[in-house]
Symmetry: C2
Subunit: 346 residues, 2 copies
DNA sequence: GGTCCGATTTATAACGTTTTAAATGAACCG
DNA sequence: CGGTTCATTTAAAACGTTATAAATCGGACC
């Protein structure tokens, strides 16, 4: 009386929701192995089998179990992005992540994010990820010339892409913005407007792109033979008020700079505010050319000239490069230097 | 000659790097089961065994394999956060994520992020996550009164926390900012400064917190018996330039509002720029009280009065609440309404 | 007619963990 | 001393997948 009908035996469809390889196997009559092979388009499977399996899989909405795949293959299907604490303003990190996510959209990869609480000390986080295989690849920004994170990853052969270059002899994948070109062009534009004493606001010196910016600035300045000034008390990572106060103080002293190349929108706004304390007006007594990474600045202050860095695109490129690197392609073409959009018509 | 010494048999230490339960078992002489039990502090294990196992585990740097745990238990140890496309500016999303990450810091949970490419259409993404068990919990923002995402999750009993409230009768966990209190206070401050025709810039009407803001605004306006204005062509999600242009146009017409309650920093900046087109100066012809979520606005434009919303804290609270919800605590105390910091001394 | 081959398919084991049920052994009791 | 209990430990199975090796089969070949 308590017997269940024999015919129900082996029917796993109603069991517990999620369809598995087993479900498809029961439905098609093939073995689990065959189904697995068919789905991964392995060569030894006959065309009709492959087709049938794919049909059924699609019909019941089969999706491979990530945990099982990961356990078996060792691949995590996870990309980890390290978020710097300085990225809190103007969506730097968010834009990058949107781009990344777009590149990962039709892949099995998920994006996990690890914020750095302590600046630069993410070496522990990285070695943790590498040692325990928590991800298949890593993304991070703000590299230093001999960045210990890059060294660690290179030594371990762990796939990664940086936003920013280093000076290691071993080449590694990066996607960077040509900050030399940016600074050079920005400074030239200031000079073209008749400014005779440009100043550049740089990121902290330890970062590679600080050197690039400085180099571009100096090249333009020397070519034109004009005076210049480089503030050593402030950088782009400073709190807004510190930049503002510095500018305010500087504006009250002699030989005030009359042109500013700003590596970020916030520093440009801070500069405007600081200068206005002494009645100096943008476009009259001085000009600004700034790097633009959002829509904010140019809309709020159209008088600030801007040169665009597309961080969403950067993120997308980083994603593509990382996927290629994980796939094992050789590192040729994995070093991308994005050029500023310079409108020569202007 | 090719024999390996018997003594090496079973020694898994050198095998392939990562230590596993097996490694600890071999090292201590206990069975794998016992080790697993000891590490998870199961009750039936003797104190000394537990201690010994923990020692060895710490010594060799054992870390449980996430994939294996997930496969066996069905728990993913993953929290998923949905990122809206509107969060690209001023680090809204980043702040929230930093807070979240802080709350998750000493837990086994990882944070995976899914950007929404299409506004509001993330219902598919959510049902995908729910159906395939891709995460143990979900975090998202910008709720609507009868948000379909909330409905779906409630129906499936899937753990989540929203930033923002709904009007469903079934209570669900949320962490929200008291936008009524904010708008009420902001408007009162404008009136206290002698402004007689305040305007409020609201988020899109479909969002719950739009109603809250409106309600706070109207309450203050009615109490004081002053005129008011609510623009219907713009909202906080509009591109900066659209708000700026609107303000510019409005400033050229009669009965221009003389006080602005802004729900975001960007709209405040846009307002200032637009008003200045007609020579109207902040602090002279009009005042602004804005919600502040970053350090930008108050440093750039100290004349804008601000009321702070701490999004990092919000994220941290959301993390705590979600963990509690996942742990199965009943939903009492899972509805957090954060109060604006109102400095009564001022 | 047996052997071998290529083309498919399949059974089995394994990844590292947790769970269920069973085993061990000491202590206790009648 | 046999039986019962309790505290601890253990063996075995399972989660869903992939990799390795083996099986099946029709036909080609000598």
């Amino acid at each position: 009386m308590t017997d269940t009908p024999k015919s129900a035996t082996g029917d796993t469809r109603l069991k517990s929701g999620k369809p598995t390889l087993r479900t498809i196997a029961d439905l098609t009559g093939f073995a689990v192995t065959t189904v697995s092979r068919a789905l991964s388009n392995a060569p030894q499977i006959s065309t009709e089998t492959r087709k049938r399996v794919h049909e059924v899989a699609a019909e019941i909405g089969y999706l491979p179990d990530r945990a099982a795949q990961r356990l078996k293959t060792g691949r995590t299907n996870v990309i980890c992005v390290l978020l710097d604490p300085h990225e809190e303003i103007l969506g730097y990190g968010i834009s990058l992540m949107h781009g990344l996510a777009r590149a990962l959209q039709d892949t099995p990869y998920h994006l996990i994010v690890m914020p750095n609480f302590i600046d630069g000390a993410n070496i522990d986080a990285i070695s943790h990820i590498v040692r325990n295989g928590m991800a298949d690849g890593l993304i991070f920004s703000r590299t230093e010339p001999f960045d210990p994170r890059v060294r660690l990853l290179l030594e371990n052969g762990f796939p990664f892409v940086t936003h920013g270059r280093t000076e290691f002899t071993t080449p590694h994948p990066y996607v960077d913005y040509d900050n030399f070109a940016f600074a050079y062009e920005a400074t030239r534009r200031l000079i073209a407007r008749g400014r005779r004493k440009p100043m550049i606001i740089l990121p902290p010196k330890r970062m590679t792109f600080s050197q690039h910016l400085l180099h571009g600035f100096m090249t333009a300045v020397r070519e034109a033979g004009v005076a210049y000034e480089i503030p050593d008390e402030i950088d782009l990572d400073c709190p807004v008020e510190q930049i503002r106060d510095y500018m305010s103080r500087r504006a009250g002293e002699p030989d005030t700079p009359d042109g500013f190349a700003c590596g970020g929108e916030v520093s440009a706004l801070a500069t405007i505010t600081g200068m206005s304390d002494h009645g100096l007006t943008l476009g009259v007594e001085y000009d600004i050319v700034a790097k633009r990474t959002s829509k904010l600045l140019s809309q709020i202050q159209p008088k600030v000239e801007t040169i665009y860095e597309d961080l969403t695109d950067t993120g997308a490129r980083m994603g593509q490069v990382l996927l290629a690197r994980i796939a094992g392609d050789d590192t040729t073409g994995m070093q991308v230097l994005l050029q500023p959009q310079i409108d020569f018509a202007a």
